[in-house]
Amino acid sequence: MNDLIEIRWHGRGGQGAKTAAMLLADVAFSIGKQVQGFPEYGPERMGAPITAYNRISDRELRVHSNIYHPDYVAVVDETLLHDVDVTSGLSVDGGILINTDKNKDELIPLLRGYQGNVYTIDARKISEEALGKYFPNMPMLAAMVKITGVMDEERFFKEMQTSLEHKFAKKPEVLEGNMKALRMAFKEVQ
């Protein structure tokens, strides 16, 4: 892992891009990393494009600006590809993760010439299968952990198990579905 990983999340208000960034900060914190997870607040409205950010490092994080040259970008809603320049400043050594049921080749023309890695995940399918509802956070989180390599698979599932057991202490039936969504996403991201 690099000394510093910078990630930018694109989503729409209400889809949980901010929550995904916070979850990633949480899980990276749990393995001893220095973390930042923060949203950029524009006109916060359901459906309006929003951005959230992560910095993950072994060093103390002092910078408080937004991220203009991310190593990775996550797109929670593929319709944003038409409206937002999601690959702006994105490192070609990193990559972009898109939540979609489409084939990569269909999306690449929308990426404004981005030459780096393109990863896709069908978070809707996974979420509906594992949880019975559409919550893209968990699949996106697992896919992001895998492509960035912030931690290994085994550690990730262990930390998530602990954290979700705590979070869903009163709703244990949800735990299994969430863990399933994470495992499926880890396997299916491509």
Partner: protein, 394 residues
């Protein structure tokens, strides 16, 4: 054992409030400080603390209720931002002149308008002459630490003034970062119990508070209040020294970052200073003597100490995150500029307006400021370049 956690600035300050367990918190929610009354209400509802939480219908009322509670003898706090602070304005002066050690968690947000919810220091800067102590935080850790120290400063017998502990809206309040917390009993012991000398609910002593001050007495009262603010400087340092013993973290009236031998210095307040530190390191790697002075305490204003710390700099950029519409620069530049003149500092000075209404500022922006300072040190400052905006389309 210190506790390693990750928290947003609002969570961190709420956590400090929980550990202190103050007596009364009247509050009215406003972005981006809404989470503070929300989190405290949760702590109360869950039985973690027995603070009397008073939902009020406005900020004028929250400060009024805080004044009443504090006068009654209760350790009191409130929280607000932006227009909420503006709506307290009248009562801020009452709190200070009645010498009530109320704590206010201020999450800095610009005053309207145009209407905007993001970070700016115009709210607290507007209240800079209201008689409140003002301490600013760079990040969640400092926001937490400052709040733990707040009552010790405000309630000190030589001070007895209200205190505003400020952090940057969203940038600090909503960003989750690593933080080291103190244990509950360590905080409790450090803050101690509030034992006011005079208070309204004291059945042993009848008292009147906030009387009309006729001209023959009122000016003397103000002189005494000014003295309390002067006394606060030493008290802030003493409390910081004690705090270092329990936390290992060192605080002063300001922080000097690689400033000792710096030719070029930036002076700023709040979260932007963290970003500036990365710029300083990059320039130092290239052999450029860049340094940073981060203001922590703005009230009382440490004029002499600041001038001393900056005495060998060739060029200084004073960076304001608030307009004063004086047509002559921002509030920090006005005060620090005066201090530099008073103490015969010969450096070239720029006043740069940045980050208004949440405008982002990057490491690269700061690097450019240091470039401008290097140029100013050699060529002087052109009149139209002395007070200007950065990060703006023009």
């Amino acid at each position: 054992m210190a506790i390693k956690e990750r928290m947003s600035g609002n969570e961190a300050v709420a956590y400090a409030i929980m550990q202190i367990n103050p007596d009364v918190m009247p509050a009215f929610p406003i972005t981006p400080s809404t989470e503070l009354p929300q989190f405290v209400s949760n702590y109360v509802a869950n039985g973690k603390i027995d603070t009397e939480f008073i939902p009020v219908e406005s900020e004028h009322s929250s400060m009024s209720a805080a004044i009443g509670a504090s006068a009654a003898g209760a350790r009191t706090l409130t929280a607000t931002s932006s227009c909420g602070l503006a709506y307290m304005w009248e009562m801020l002066y009452v709190a200070a002149s009645d010498r009530l050690p109320i704590a206010l968690a201020l999450v800095n947000r610009g005053l309207t308008g145009p209407l905007n919810i993001n970070c700016e220091h115009s709210d607290s800067m507007g209240a800079r002459d209201s008689g409140w102590i003002q301490i600013y935080a760079e990040n969640n850790q400092e926001a937490y630490d400052n709040f733990v120290m707040a009552y010790r400063i405000a309630e000190h017998k030589d001070v007895m003034l209200p205190i505003m502990a400020c952090m940057d809206g969203f940038i600090t309040s909503h960003a989750v970062m690593n933080i080291t917390l103190l244990e509950d009993d360590v905080v409790k012991d450090f803050v101690g119990e509030y034992k006011p000398e005079h208070f309204l609910l004291n059945k042993e002593e009848v008292m009147a508070i906030g009387p009309y001050g006729v001209s023959n007495y009122c000016m003397e009262a103000k002189r005494a209040q000014a003295q309390a603010m002067m006394n606060a400087k030493q008290v802030i340092l003493d409390v910081a020294e004690e705090f270092e013993k329990i936390s290992g973290r060192k605080y002063g009236l300001f922080e000097e970052y690689r400033l000792e031998d710096a030719d070029y210095a930036i002076v700023a307040i709040g979260s932007a200073c963290g970003t500036a530190k990365d710029a300083v390191d990059k320039l130092r790697d290239k052999g450029i003597k860049a340094g940073l002075l981060k203001i922590r305490v703005f009230r009382p204003f440490p004029a002499k100490e600041l001038a001393e710390a900056l005495k060998s700099c060739k060029a200084i950029a004073i960076m304001d995150r608030a307009e004063s519409y004086s047509a002559n620069g921002g509030p920090l530049a006005a005060e620090l500029g005066a201090a530099l003149f008073k103490y015969k500092n010969q450096a070239e000075v720029l006043n740069l307006m940045y980050g208004l209404s949440g405008r982002d500022i990057t490491v690269e922006d700061f690097e450019k400021v240091y470039e401008d300072l290097a140029d100013a040190a050699v060529n002087g400052v052109k009149e139209d370049a002395e007070y200007r905006y950065i990060g703006i389309r023009e």
